[in-house]
């Protein structure tokens, strides 16, 4: 008899029929270790963003050569061990068209929406992570997880549009509790079973489902449209519950860590050096155990105010007040903060690359978009705004490239990312940032 994990786990729970997926054993993978042998379904590809404020230092981060095997630069040194798994984009532009350059906002919003924002602090559409989560975030407990490392609950840049943002976890303990606290069951453990509360909620929704069919028969077109919108969110809830009733397909061999202790969280670099690795590790394990396929980490806010204890000025203030060293040609203290921002990104990359999954690592089955709000923060400049990608998106991305954007709109990266994730998108962005040109050099 052929091994069929769905058959094996069919049964009843408290009198209710449920479907339970089998734990993902090696025998379910194909010979390449990339897909499930019986369905051909690939190991899920994950997407994440890392945001840091105040950009990088052009003189210290832009590799001198373009294409593969680019030379590692001073500000990218922390990423050297993963150089073959990242790509660096320089020379990109956030084009504001007739909108103002909202300081520390226009660049961020342009990268995440492909649209120059018409208001400061607001997005003119949902952000790219949510668009992607709509496509790849189904079937997990959480459509997406948002995290900020500096302790400020306002520092989330994931949005369904407008001024509202998806609330972030602000401490490692909070993130741990969200991912592995009440409601979490370790999918690798033999006693996994559906949450009874979810079953109850699901049955309630079934009643709602019957009612809504009857309701829709008696509504006009406009009301139907409104109800459709409403039921879309209900459907998302149902999908989420369906996911909760199935054992997640987990390939990676990870142990769920114990809960982290309470930790002081603020914007000082030494504290971030403790917090960011914890956040990164929890996110990585959350991805590996399929709690979510999409995450967003913000190091701090746009116009980053991370600081070094003892220094008189935080990062943002330094960018404006520190004179440009006439010999070096850049602001050395500000450059140090930018370098730290890259070190924190390297921490995240390291955690994802440290988890074996199938024939590669979790990073290989992921695509990370690292982005910022400005190029030269002293001017709030939007020309030459840096972007990095990490991970090969399960082989759909070529990595290890330096791409010279040559003034291209930042939206080309967003389009590239979506196409790499298999989304049926041939254009993205609006106005001067509307593009149909992904960076094909890095698309596999």
């Amino acid at each position: 008899m052929a091994l069929d994990r769905r058959l094996l786990l069919r049964g009843a729970f408290h009198g209710t029929a449920v479907t339970m997926a089998l734990p993902l054993l090696d025998c379910f993978l194909d010979g390449n270790g990339q897909a499930l042998a019986d369905t051909g379904k690939r190991i899920p590809t994950r997407f994440g963003t890392y945001f840091w404020g105040c950009g990088l230092t052009k003189e210290l981060f832009v590799p001198k050569t373009v294409g593969a095997n680019f030379e590692t630069t001073q500000q990218l040194a922390s990423l050297e061990p993963y150089k073959k798994k990242i790509s660096v984009f320089s020379g990109l532009r956030a084009v504001v068209d007739d909108n103002p350059n909202f300081q520390h906002w226009s660049g961020l919003a342009a990268i995440t929406t492909g649209i120059a924002p018409s208001k400061s602090g607001e997005f003119d559409s949902q952000t790219i992570d949510q668009t992607i989560a709509d496509a790849i975030g189904r079937g997990t407990r959480f459509k997406s997880i948002e995290v900020t490392c500096s302790g400020n609950k306002n520092e989330s840049y994931s949005s369904l549009g407008g001024a509202n943002t998806n609330p972030p976890e602000v401490t490692p303990l909070g993130l741990y509790t969200r991912l592995f606290g009440p409601g979490f069951q370790d999918p690798s453990k033999g006693d996994w079973k559906p949450d009874p509360q979810v079953l109850v909620h699901q049955s309630m929704l079934s009643v709602v489902s019957d009612d809504r069919k009857r309701l829709l028969e008696n509504l006009g077109a406009r009301d139907k449209a409104r109800m459709d919108q409403y039921f879309t969110s209900v459907r998302e809830l149902e999908l989420s519950m369906d996911a909760a009733l199935k054992r997640p397909d987990v390939v990676a061999q990870v142990d769920i860590p114990g809960a982290p202790g309470e930790l002081s969280v603020n914007k000082s670099v030494p504290v971030l050096q403790k917090v960011v690795p914890q956040m990164a590790r929890l996110i990585a394990i959350g991805l590996a155990t399929n709690q979510t396929h999409v995450f967003n980490i913000a190091l701090a806010e746009p116009g980053s105010t991370i600081f070094m204890p003892g220094d008189s000025k935080p990062f943002h203030q330094q960018t404006h007040e520190e004179p440009i060293d006439p010999v070096l040609g850049y602001q050395p203290v500000s450059a140090d903060f930018s370098t730290h921002s890259m070190k924190f990104f390297a921490t995240l990359v390291k955690e994802l690359d440290g988890i074996k999954e199938g024939d590669g690592t979790l990073l290989d089955h992921s695509l990370l978009l690292a982005y910022t709000d400005t190029s030269f923060a002293k001017l709030h400049a939007l020309d030459g705004i840096p972007i990095l990608l990490a991970g090969s998106a399960s082989g759909r991305m070529k990595t290890g490239y330096h791409v010279a954007g040559d003034g291209s709109p930042v939206s080309r990266v967003g389009l590239t990312v979506q196409q790499a994730l298999g989304m049926p998108v041939d254009s993205w962005g609006k106005g001067s940032m509307a593009t149909k040109k992904p960076f094909t050099d890095v698309l596999a």
């Binding site: 020379g91 400061s120 007040e321 004179p323 006439p326 010999v327 020309d383």
Partner: protein
């Protein structure tokens, strides 16, 4: 930038020609869009030091350039103790660095002879710190008064009597310095211009030869159409721009010799302003103004615009676009020092009554790329957002107040809603400190300030219109 504005739509402009017509005189037009614009300062560089771009210490400022201000030094007054200075400049009891910054801005705003006087609005009430000035002999600019004995600068080409007292006055401010088009303030302005904040266009026309014409005409003004930027950072060529005939539009006669355009010197020359914030946009009114442009074989232009400008306007444009304290802390301009330096170096536009010079000679350098400057089918105005419009109005209000105070030597109050005086501090529910600017989308407000000095209380009194507290009025 819409493609429709490219070459193709200029079929109507068949009279235009970019090719010289040496054999037969004919009407011609050449146009440009400016893509680099900055004060024309000349830098000698460091003798014997060959690193490209190195600017300090230049031979024009051998005593060094103006570095960051020593906050403790400039805010020490006869009425303020060292302890009070320290409590603002290095407040031991405040750990939030952003709050410390706001406190420093606050104390910098008050360094006049009396505690309640805002110093950027009333710089004449603070002592002259003696800003270092340029001592070099070479400067770009024009001999505006026709007298080789005034001005005292020699142009890089050897012309004597160059008048550029603005350079002499503020040319040692670090953020204005750099080899052409690389100074921090210059890069900032050019970046914003090319980002779409403003567009400056020039149109030349004549009836002889674009490279040699004794009766050419030069027009200069704003365009509502944005520059299209190339990957090398310069403006794209051959786009078209509508010219706006508003108060910043000028039309002057010019002579062209071998591609060098020299306009007449005119009593009033109006052009768009150098600036980096929308509220700086407006009229750079040059008195005895003139323009020189050199056109190269590819149709690109570079040159100077200069004249005498009211030094009070120059102070205003530097000071009140954000707030004086922000300019001092971020761009390292000593504004009180600048006030005295501009006044001291003023060399033109004598007041008919007092004879005091109200103008200072100045020149700006520019680069421009070939473009098509067209008259709009219907009159057009510049696109000014409601927010920018409010900022311009506020800026104009500050200009008026400052001028009133300067002309009458009367201390002016800091008006309600002003950006000057630095914002007051307040405490969040979690105990941390902030100013209202730190909150997204918030405005500076009049919530009760809390801080280590009674100066903050004074600010509330000003805003609310109430009489200052007795303890303050007794100072």
């Amino acid at each position: 930038m819409n493609g429709y504005r490219r070459l193709g739509h200029h079929l109507l402009c068949t009279v235009l020609t970019l090719a010289p017509t040496p054999l037969m005189a004919a009407p011609w037009v050449r146009s440009f869009v400016v893509d680099k614009y900055e004060p024309a300062f000349h830098y000698g560089g460091r003798p014997g030091f060959e690193k490209t771009g190195t600017i300090e210490p230049g031979v024009d400022c051998p005593g060094g350039t103006l570095p960051m201000l020593d906050y403790a030094k400039v805010t020490k007054t006869s009425w303020r103790s060292d302890e009070e200075v320290a409590s603002w400049v290095k407040p031991a009891q405040v750990t939030d660095l952003q709050t410390v910054h706001y406190m420093q801005e606050r104390i910098l705003s008050y360094r006049s002879f009396r505690r309640d006087i805002e110093s950027y609005i009333n710089p004449f009430t603070a002592p002259d710190p003696g800003m270092p000035s340029v001592v070099g002999k070479v400067a770009e600019g024009f001999n505006l008064d026709g007298n080789v004995k005034t001005g005292r600068f020699i142009s890089p080409e050897g012309e004597k009597g160059i008048d550029n007292a603005f350079y002499r006055a503020v040319g040692c401010i670090g953020s204005y310095r750099g080899v052409p088009y690389t100074a921090a303030m210059s890069v900032r302005s050019t970046d914003k211009m090319l980002e779409g904040m403003y567009t400056m266009v020039i149109r030349l026309s004549g009836n002889e030869d674009p490279m040699n014409d004794d009766a050419a005409t030069l027009e200069i003004g704003y365009s509502p159409d944005h520059v299209n930027k190339q990957t090398d950072g310069r403006a794209s060529t051959s786009y078209s721009f509508r010219i706006v005939r508003n108060e910043q539009y000028s039309k002057v006669k010019a002579v062209i010799r071998n591609g060098v355009v020299e306009t007449q010197q005119v009593p009033e020359l109006h052009t768009p302003r150098f600036g980096w914030f929308p509220n700086q946009m407006g009229d750079a009114d040059f008195h005895q103004g003139r323009i020189r442009l050199e056109i190269d074989r590819d149709g690109f232009a570079s040159g100077l615009v200069g004249g005498y400008r009211d030094w009070r306007d120059l102070y205003t444009e530097d000071t009140f676009t954000q707030s004086g304290a922000t300019v001092e802390t971020r761009d390292h301009h000593d504004l009180v020092g600048m006030y005295y330096a501009l006044k001291r170096n003023a060399d033109g536009m004598p007041d008919p009554k007092t004879g005091e010079n109200m103008g200072i000679s100045i020149a700006y350098r520019m680069k421009a790329v070939p473009a098509y400057v067209v008259d709009p089918e219907k009159p057009v105005a510049l696109n000014v957002s409601p927010g920018d419009s409010r900022a311009i109005k506020k800026y104009q209000q500050m200009r008026t107040i400052f001028r009133n105070g300067t002309m009458t030597a009367t201390i002016q109050a800091n008006p309600k809603g002003s950006s000057e005086g630095a914002p007051q501090l307040r405490q969040r529910a979690d105990g941390s400190w902030t100013n209202s600017d730190g909150e997204r989308g918030a405005q500076r407000d009049a919530t009760p300030p809390i801080g280590p000095s009674t100066m903050l209380q004074q600010r509330v009194s000003e805003v609310s219109g109430e009489a200052p507290a007795a303890s303050l009025s007794a100072r």
